[in-house]
């Protein structure tokens, strides 16, 4: 497999995709460097930077602990205890992943303005991101070898000691990987914090841009944010590499041991119910509540009409389709390269695409704004530029799916086709595509949904007059017109959750689809 060289066309397509991803990074570094050492020092070395750093790191620290504890506890209850209705809980536990974080944020803010502080931010982040810990930990618990636990018990360890000395060490890669994804998502999230009026790097960058400061200040703040993001992604990369190592096992394994809850059964059920009410009940409940209010229940500038909602939905769908098409067009050659060839160049090109996962939407958008305002004026605030931004943001998500789909069509199957007298094209049509098509479709659908619920880049790059569902929720919520925002939020929630449901149903194992969703950049 490694013997053939990739064709020049394939390499060119991959280099183009990689260059597009690296472009915003390059522009940001350029803009930051342009400020010069003294200006940079003056802009960065001031209380604001320290305040933002402290605020962001404090929130990440607390979110890592809260999502880690809650995600692990729920995973333990679902996978390893005799909790009743475990199947239902296992589905409810991952539903929040299908609700865009800024919709969750909108729901909580509209419930109580008292949440516009650190506590509110922590609540929203925990509620929105704990599935990122729950999913890998649940998978690790499911795949654990019961023989290890039995051996530990036979060696005289009690239940608590066994958990600490046998189970927790085995969970470490999954848990660590999960909380690092939470940290990364907290770093790049913009909409949820903006609605909560909680100041992090992303909102500060947006503020500096809106205030019309020179390109230097937002770019310098973006540099600090990028360093944090890349550190998180690198750590996650190494943790995940080790996790894969630990999973190599042979033969059919027995099902992991189930522990009886006993008198804790009632409290566990109640706790799970409360948690589901917080994570799913509040966001959906608040949307329904505001839908039932007349338009002027809050200070609505424009009551949402059916026509306006339909127009916004159409923009979202149109941009989603265009974004998915371009992203898939870039991801396909990279996927072919990554699954069929190897070598340092292949690794470098693939890694560069995954690097996009650590570039916050606000940084991508800002870089493209500064690039087009100065040098490519006709592209500024144009639809092609916005679609390109989506492609940069969601290339990692598409690539994960494309890679998995192409792995379905193993080289051995393609060779079997060739030896039976089929040429390259015929093999592609009769073997590779039929095998990869479902996975490619799923990847395109995930990108489509991600684009329709995207806020940050859309806000900064959308052509004048283009309103999407996300920007409408943003605009109305910013002016406290919660009832006006409700129809847009409702359409988004229905689309996003419906698509997740369809994908999970179509591909049987919901975990695989959710696993792909884990690569979702905010």
């Amino acid at each position: 497999m490694a013997a053939r060289r990739p064709s020049a066309g394939l390499l060119a397509a991959c280099c183009a995709a990689s260059a597009l991803v690296l472009l915003p990074l390059g522009v940001t570094v350029w803009n930051a460097a342009d400020a010069g050492g003294e200006v940079a020092a003056a802009l960065l070395w001031r209380p604001l930077t320290g305040f933002l750093l402290l605020n962001t790191l404090r929130l990440i620290g607390c979110a890592v602990i809260s999502t880690g504890l809650i995600g692990t506890a729920l995973a333990w209850l679902v996978e390893r205890t005799d909790l009743r209705a475990r199947r239902v809980w296992s589905i409810l536990a991952v539903v929040p992943l299908a609700i865009p974080p800024f919709i969750t944020s909108y729901a909580w803010v509209s419930l109580s303005p008292g949440l516009e502080n650190f506590g509110g931010a922590l609540l929203v982040v925990t509620v929105a991101y704990y599935p990122l810990v729950y999913l890998p930990v649940a998978a690790a618990l499911r795949e654990m070898d019961p023989a290890l636990e039995e051996t530990a018990r036979a060696l005289g360890l009690g239940r608590a000691a066994m958990f600490g000395r046998i189970i927790l060490p085995q969970l470490r890669p999954a848990l660590l990987g999960g909380v690092l994804l939470v940290a990364l998502d907290v770093l790049v999230e913009f909409g949820a914090f903006a609605l909560l009026r909680f100041r992090t790097f992303t909102t500060a960058i947006y503020g500096a841009y809106r205030a019309g400061f020179s390109g230097a200040e937002p770019a310098l703040l973006a540099m600090v944010l990028l360093v944090l993001c890349i550190a998180c992604l690198t750590a996650e990369f190494f943790v995940r590499g080790r996790a894969r190592y630990g999973r190599l096992g042979r033969g059919a394994r027995r099902r992991a041991a189930i522990y009886p809850l006993g008198r804790w059964h009632g409290p566990a059920q109640a706790g799970f119910a409360v948690w589901a009410a917080l994570t799913i009940g509040v966001p959906l409940g608040m949307i329904i509540y505001w839908l039932a209010q007349p338009g002027d229940a809050a200070t609505a500038p424009v009551a949402a009409s059916f026509g306006a909602v339909a127009r916004a939905a159409w923009s979202s769908i149109y941009l989603g389709a265009a974004g998915a098409a371009l992203t898939m067009a870039l991801a396909l050659p990279l996927g072919v390269l990554a699954t069929r060839y190897d070598g340092w160049l292949v690794t470098a090109l693939e890694r560069s695409a995954y690097l996009a996962q650590s570039i916050p939407g606000i940084v991508v958008a800002l870089a493209l704004v500064s690039l087009t305002v100065h040098t490519l004026r006709p592209l500024y605030e144009s639809t092609p530029l916005l679609v390109a931004a989506y492609a940069v943001l969601f290339l990692p998500l598409a690539l994960v799916g494309v890679r998995a789909a192409l792995t379905q069509a193993q080289p051995a199957l393609e060779e079997a086709g060739r030896s039976l007298g089929l040429g390259r094209t015929a093999v592609l049509l009769r073997v590779s595509l039929p095998l990869a098509a479902p996975g490619l479709g799923a990847a395109a659908a995930l990108v489509f949904i991600a684009v329709t619920t995207e806020l940050t880049a859309t806000l900064l790059l959308a052509p004048i007059g283009t309103q999407t569902l996300a920007t409408q929720v943003w605009a109305d919520t910013s002016t406290l017109a919660f009832a006006a925002a409700a129809p847009y939020a409702a359409v988004m929630a229905v689309m996003s959750m419906g698509a997740a449901w369809l994908l999970a149903g179509r591909f049987g194992t919901a975990d695989r689809v959710k696993g792909q969703a884990l690569a979702r950049p905010a």
């Binding site: 490694a2 013997a3 379905q408 193993q410 051995a412 199957l413 060779e415 079997a416 086709g417 060739r418 030896s419 039976l420 007298g421 089929l422 040429g423 015929a426 009769r430 073997v431 039929p434 095998l435």
Partner: protein, 357 residues
């Protein structure tokens, strides 16, 4: 006689690592040649070069008189009419058994399920399997379908890449028999690569041994087993007893007496190779027998390995015999050993006097 496969001076390296060097052999039409090699010996690469999945660096491949590859110039795999059965079958998971079998046929033949019943029958599979998904079959059945699929377009040659290695022991013997019978019935020219000595020796009309990318020996299985080209090969092909000896005039003197050499031209100080099953054990002395004492017995069920100490020139030599298990000597018993048949001998290549005494 029809022309089969002819390979001359084939060479291939991956990067700086040579995988095959100067491999030449031919496969007569209608027969099966087994290529035996340890992992990393280059046997899979050899198959992939013949199938056309890789281009050779040098050398020629000819099939039925037509040139398939000459150096890096090669015909693509789809034009070679060579069937390929991969290690784990590589059945198309999105097609049922019948569609897998007819995959390489024309559209009309595919629609008419041409030859499906015939091929299922040939491989001893029930007709009702035609509509099953490959995942619903056992590993052995998948391998049989893979062979049916390879045979369907009437290939000029069938390549089998360790097709039984993923199967467990019972299934392996059964699948091996079904495959051998089907290949014979179809009159197919075939190459089987394997790392299993028994498999190679039992299935091949001729057997080649690939060592570190070179073809060490190619001959009929009996000859390969009894007269391997080197001590190393003898060991690789099965259990062997090695004794120092002195050869002259078609006979060799060693700890087991004066034995007849298979190759009568060998002279001088040699290493004698006796297969454990050539040694017979008697309670009393016989013609040309030597005294020995039983050291230990390892019982396997249908047979057993018995280790003896044979006294020669004031020194004990270890000799192992394979005996049927119904009557075995007891440890410490004094017995007499006799060697049946001819033995092989190797002239140590510029070896120091290590083997001498």
């Amino acid at each position: 006689m029809m022309q089969g496969l002819e390979i001359s001076s084939l060479a291939k390296s991956f990067g700086a690592t040579p995988v095959l060097r100067d491999v030449s052999f031919s496969v007569p039409a209608g027969s099966l040649t087994a290529i035996l090699g340890a992992s990393g010996s280059g046997k899979t690469t050899l198959l992939r070069l013949i199938a056309g999945f890789e281009a050779p660096d040098a050398g020629e491949i000819k099939l039925a008189g037509a040139l398939l590859a000459s150096g890096a110039k090669m015909q693509p795999p789809e034009r070679r009419a060579i069937g390929y059965v991969a290690q784990e079958g590589a059945l198309f998971p999105h097609l049922n058994v019948a569609d897998n079998i007819t995959f390489g046929l024309s559209r009309a033949a595919r629609r008419g399920r041409h030859r499906v019943a015939e091929l299922l029958h040939l491989l001893d599979l029930p007709d009702c399997y035609a509509d099953r998904a490959p995942q619903a079959l056992s590993g052995g059945q998948q391998q049989r379908v893979a062979l049916a699929r390879a045979l369907a377009p009437n290939p000029k040659l069938v390549l089998l890449d360790e097709p039984f290695s993923a199967l467990d022991a019972g299934l392996r013997a059964e699948t091996r028999q079904a495959v051998a019978a089907a290949l014979r019935a179809a009159g197919a020219t075939a190459i089987l690569v394997t790392h299993d000595q028994e498999e190679a020796l039992s299935m091949g009309a001729q057997v080649g041994v690939l060592q570190a990318g070179s073809l060490a020996q190619l001959s009929a299985p009996e000859r390969l087993y009894r007269q391997p080209a080197s001590a190393d090969l003898a060991n690789f092909l099965g259990e062997a007893v090695f004794l120092p000896g002195l050869a002259a005039a078609g006979r060799v003197d060693c700890a087991l007496g004066a034995l007849t050499l298979a190759d009568r031209t060998i002279q001088g100080a040699v290493q004698v190779m006796v297969r454990p099953e050539q040694i017979r054990v008697f309670a009393q002395a016989r013609d040309a027998s030597v005294a020995a004492r039983v050291r230990d017995v390892t019982f396997f069920g249908h047979d057993a390995l018995v280790r003896f100490a044979v006294r020669e020139a004031g020194q004990d030599r270890d000799v192992t015999a394979r005996l049927f298990s119904h009557s075995l000597p007891r440890p410490e018993a004094d017995v007499w050993l006799q060697v049946e048949g001819d033995v092989a001998a190797f002239v140590p290549s510029a070896a120091p006097a290590l083997q001498g005494g």
